[in-house]
Subunit: 154 residues, 2 copies
């Protein structure tokens, strides 16, 4: 997987959080290692299918960052990861995937998006099962960490 | 969502667990209620995209049933939800989706499958974000419970 494929997702998440929640994400170093694990408290996942490509994308938030996003979007910080946080993570996942899809289409990749799924649970881990490389992209803001994972069979 | 759409997934899971792990699943009553939650310890998810349809499917296992499946497949029961259990759940998700895809194609639904994603974490919940109905299908075996959730935008 090359930067051409990964960058649209990075740019899309950074833009979405800046626009929606006034959060400036620090972008960490992308990692390929198979043993890297994203451990978080709430995650959005979405499947992607093209004519000769299939894959998945996930965005995992630590609780603190998820609550910071809610505060930035609504002006009020929830006490815990409630149903509204869950909905927000689903919407962000959709927006990030949609933004990346548009950029990928410009580069000639026609990728269809499935619907988002949100996982909640203290310190869960996400494991993308693909034959190709997995990329983990760490992000950081005041409230905590987030991770994007992107994986494709090729 | 009608039975024509849901039944291929039920039949596929029952067949896969019978063939691979000699487990006879008891099929519970499908539920539409939005507040039904599948709480489990390891889940496989897969996105689905057709020409005018998008959705997602998840299979959530309680730890006891996941370990029973491993025992049935390999003759040995792992002590905990390790990486091998994780891989097994990914494979089963792929097989169930693949089996359902074939049946759906016979009925005229051409649905492409994304790649599976496995989530681990004690008592996590899965929340499919779609505009259409969500179906939750409970299953039971000696070792514990499993839930299939199927959701489509229409």
């Amino acid at each position: 997987m090359n930067a051409e494929f990964v960058n649209p997702f990075i740019i899309s998440l950074v833009n979405v959080l800046k626009t929606m929640a006034q959060i400036e994400l620090q972008i960490g170093k992308p990692q390929k290692k198979a043993d890297s694990k994203a451990r978080g408290d709430v995650s959005g996942l979405i499947g992607m299918v093209g004519s000769n490509i299939a894959g998945s994308m996930s965005i995992t938030f630590e609780e603190g960052l998820a609550l910071q996003v809610m505060e930035g979007m609504l002006g009020e910080r929830p006490d815990s990861l409630d149903d509204e946080v869950n909905d927000m993570v689903g919407e962000i996942t959709n927006m990030v995937a949609g933004g990346a899809k548009k950029e990928l289409a410009k580069k000639g990749y026609d990728v269809g998006m499935a619907t988002p799924v949100v996982v909640s649970g203290k310190e869960h881990t996400i494991n993308h099962k693909v034959s190709g490389h997995k990329m983990i992209l760490p992000f950081k803001a005041e409230g905590g960490k987030a991770y994007i994972e992107i994986c494709f069979d090729k």
